[in-house]
Structures are given as C-alpha cells and as structure tokens.
C-alpha cells in the first residue's frame, strides 16, 4: 500500500480550488432549481417595470430611461442577494447543522483556506447571477453589448464584498433566526439607499454621506459606468473602497469564525 507523503500537501491555490469545487458540485447538483431563477428574476422585473411602473416615470433618471437605470442596478443587487444568502444561511447550516466544515477541516486545509474559498465561491455566484441578468437585459436591448460584458466582474466583487460582511455577521449569530435582523435591517435598506432605485444625489444632504458608506453604492457606480461606457476618476475610489472593505471585513470574519471552528 502506498502511503501519503506529508510534504506533498496541496499548494494554496489547490486548497482554495478544493473548497470552491465542493460548493460548485453541491450547487450544480440541482441545476434546474438553482440555475433557472437567476434568469427568471430579471424577466419578472422587466414585466413589472415595462408594463407597470415604467409608465409613471417618464423623466430620464441619471441621463437614461428608467428601465435602463434600474436594470443596471439589478446587475449588482442580484449578486448582493445571492452572496448574502450563501454566506449567512448557507454558511450557518454548513457550520452548525450539517457539520460539513468539521469534516472539511480534517482534510489538508486551514480555516483561512476554508473561509477564503467560501468568499471566492460567493463571488463566483455573484458573477453568475450578474451574467444571468446581463443575458436577459441585453436580449431586450436594455443594456448594450459589448460595454456591459464587464458588468459580471463587478458582480464578482460585489459577491466577495457581501460574502465577507455576511460571514462576519454569521460569526456573531447564535441561532439561524438572527439573520432576519440582518436582512430586514441591513440588506433591504441597502437596496433602496445605494442608488439602485433612484440616484443617491437626490437624497437630502445629511443622508448622502451615509449612502457613500454603504458598500453597494460603490458597486452601483461601477456598474453604471460600465453600462453607459462613461468612466470617471471617482471609480478608482470605488474600487479602492471595495478592496479595503473586502480585506478589513474579511480579516475580522476569518478571525472570528476561526474561534468557532478551531477550539
């Protein structure tokens, strides 16, 4: 019988890939029920806005038709929601109910590898969900190709950002019901106050700085620039914000989850 050589444990990228591969296999196991809704959601949105709400909003918003305005925002909100769910309810179930992490941590990987892999997976889901919205919106010529093709990358960054945040929240959660506070108290308001439904510039002066602090605001600005092919220097600040947010929040998420995973 050949025995293992301990010097040959997988290199970092293979360990991260292992975590990603595990999640991908579980996700694609129910391809129809998991892969169909991301395409259905923007269709429902189109019907709702196109046939209903759109009629009442005749003024252009942010220089474009309202359906284009809202459509661009949808490219990143979808990434936010999928990532937030994956790394809150999903992570908690793997952590406390299924004990999947316990088993994974007996294989050659560290808690850091596990959590970073989790974040990359959530980013990938963000990318896929963004792409699904892009497919539908470009099919209806609401977003023009080829400009829009970069949008899923912002979906990826948004996914990683909300993965870090949701993992940090998860590290505090004692029962799965606590996530209700997170979604009603934080994720839902973000949807309204980050420039997705209406421009942040229209908010009263005292709220505007708050909107600048909200992570999604920066994703929205990036994705709008991509959709309109109109790039401004402030986008560099948005990218910097996202990078710093991921690193700082991710650092604390790993630190706190480590205490739960390694006693």
């Amino acid at each position: 019988m050949t025995t293992s050589n301990p010097f040959k444990y997988p290199p970092l990228h293979r360990r991260l890939y292992g975590v990603w591969y595990r999640h991908m296999r579980v996700y694609t196991k129910n391809l129809l029920s998991n892969g169909f809704p991301p395409f259905l959601e923007p269709l429902i949105f189109l019907v709702g806005v196109g046939l209903g709400l759109g009629k009442y909003i005749s003024e252009p918003m942010g220089g474009v038709r309202y359906i284009e305005f809202l459509g661009a925002g949808l490219l990143v909100t979808t990434a936010m929601f999928t990532s937030a769910f994956e790394c809150s309810f999903g992570t908690y179930i793997r952590l406390e109910f299924e004990k999947v992490y316990d088993a994974m941590l007996a294989a050659p990987m560290t808690v850091n590898n596990l959590i970073v892999g989790e974040m990359i997976w959530a980013g990938s889901k963000g990318l896929f969900f963004s792409l699904a919205v892009l497919c539908i919106l470009s099919a209806f010529r609401i977003i023009l190709l080829p400009y829009g093709l970069l949008a899923p990358l912002v979906g990826f960054l948004t996914g990683v950002m909300f993965a870090a945040l949701s993992l940090l929240v998860t590290s505090f959660v004692k029962t799965i019901n606590h996530f209700n506070f997170y979604f009603t108290g934080f994720i839902s308001p973000i949807f309204f106050f980050s420039g997705v439904v209406f421009p942040v510039a229209n908010l009263p002066g005292f709220i505007r700085p708050l909107a600048e602090m909200v992570p999604l605001t920066h994703s929205v600005r990036l994705v709008r620039a991509i959709c309109t092919n109109d790039y401004k220097p402030i986008l560099l600040f948005d990218l910097l914000y996202i990078a710093v947010f991921i690193m700082v929040v991710g650092f604390f998420a790993i630190k706190r989850l480590k205490k739960r995973l390694v006693n």
Binding site: T2, P6, K29, A106, N263
Partner: protein, 311 residues
Amino acid sequence: MAKAVITVRNISKSFGRIQAVRDLSFSVESGSCFGFLGPNGAGKTTVMKMIYGKCTRDESCGGQMDIFGYDPAKNELAIKYLSGVVQQENNLDDELNVIQNLMIYSRFYNTPVKAAKERIEYLLDFLELSEKADSKIKELSGGMKRRLVIARALLNFPRLLILDEPTTGLDPQVRHLIWEKIRQLQKQETTVLLTTHYMEEAFQLCDRLLIMHKGQKVMEGTPEDLLEENIEKYVLEVLDADPVRQVHQDTPLNRVRVDHTADVTRYYANDMDVLKQLAASFLKAGNYLIRQTNLEDVFLKATGRRLNDNQ
C-alpha cells in the same frame, strides 16, 4: 520494539473554566492501535482533535506534541495530509451521492482524477459499498454511512487513522465488519487511534489502552496488563443485596474484595473456588453469577460507577 510515531508530553486544554485535558502524556508505536477509553466528557475527543489541529493545546502549560515528526501547532497541513479522520458525526454531503462525496474529498487531497477514481472503486469494494456507489446519502443505512465516512478517511492512504467512536450505534454485524477492516489496515502498517465506549472493541482491536477520567490519565497499558494488574480474575455478582450485606458482615472475607452498589454486590477474588464456597455458604443457585472479570470491570473501577456532570 517499533518506533514511536506519536509522542505527546504534558498537554492540557481548557475551555474557559473547564479543564478538558490535564497534563496528559502518551506515545504510540508505529503500526499499532492505541485506544482511549473514558466516560463521556473525559476528554478523549479533545485529545483526538488536538492531534489533527481542530483544537489547540493550552500554550501556557508548555506541553509538546510530535505527530510523525510534526507539531500540530506549526504543521497542521502536513499532519492532516498524512491522517484520515473519522469524526463522531457522519458529516457527509447529503446533496451528493456516494461517489461524488468521495470525489470532492479527493480534490481536497489534490489526487489526480484517474487515480482518485481507482482509489474510490477500491475503497467502496473494501468497505463493501460498491453496490451503493450511485446511491443518495439519504438512502444509506447508519452502518453504510459510517463505512462511507471511513472510506473517505482512507482516500489519501493515511499513515495515521483517527477513529472517534467509529461503531457507536451500529449493529453487531457492521461492527464486526469494521473491526475486520481496521485489523487489515493495521497489517498494512497504518497506525490507528481509537476512542470507544465498547470494552469489547477496545479489547479486540487495541494494542494499548489509555483510560481517561476528568481529563486525566488513570491507567495505561495493554488490555491484558490492565486486567491483570488492576483487577482480580473472577467476580461473584449477587443481585439481591440485602441478605448479602448481613452475611458478609459476619463471614471472614479476607481473600475477597467487596464492591457494594444499590442493587448489586460484587465479590472479587483471584481464586474461583473461594467465590464458589462463598456463594454456596449463603446463596441459592440461580441467584448469583460467577464470571471472569473483564475490561468493563477495570473501567468502572478506574472511573467510578456514578455519573458525572458531563454524562
């Protein structure tokens, strides 16, 4: 004597104010099966977890651990790569089928796909699960799930196999099958660490046993030595307690040790004839049992008969 592949010196572990492991030392020889016995909450699982890095030992106590030349505090990945771990829970991926569960873990070990498939085929055959290769996890019985978790632990040809209560809750057939497989692995020079509540399992499999109680080592040795050194050869068990108490107060019992609990009185002696005489002197046939002492008697002597807070 074979080389020691695991050496643990004076390790301790506390969770807040609870001290789960206190100043524990032991060493395990290459290719042997080393068993941990102890009541629930004795610290057995914590010791296992400290070995593969799921738990960190208390730094303040200055203990040392050497697992195949590595310290879990520094070389967690190397230790995980050379070990296979069967945890207490069957933490399988319910969404996936049997083969997919194993394929995912092959990725964790970075095994090339072709080699992984061959290994999986071999292991399913080894643990008699080949027919279930494409089954969903929910369709498996408890014994099959357990065997699958063991197969998963064997994917990377482990030099060290860590089994935390591998047969708890399984029927005798499955239990014996698992014992047989563990023995076969031992013949292939796999070192095995085992925790169990089944004394027979410990007796059947382990070359050396360590009995823990409240985080401390109470006894250590080969099963035979533990029996020989710590308990008399025979025991007379009497169920009906009251009349016995009266009798043993006025009988000379200098060659018999008496252990009295609420319902049962046990008389231990190395000479069976003494017990026979004793029984004949005051008991009716059928009211008592004389048997050889076993590991369970040693265990209960070492850890007490009463439940502690953690049980």
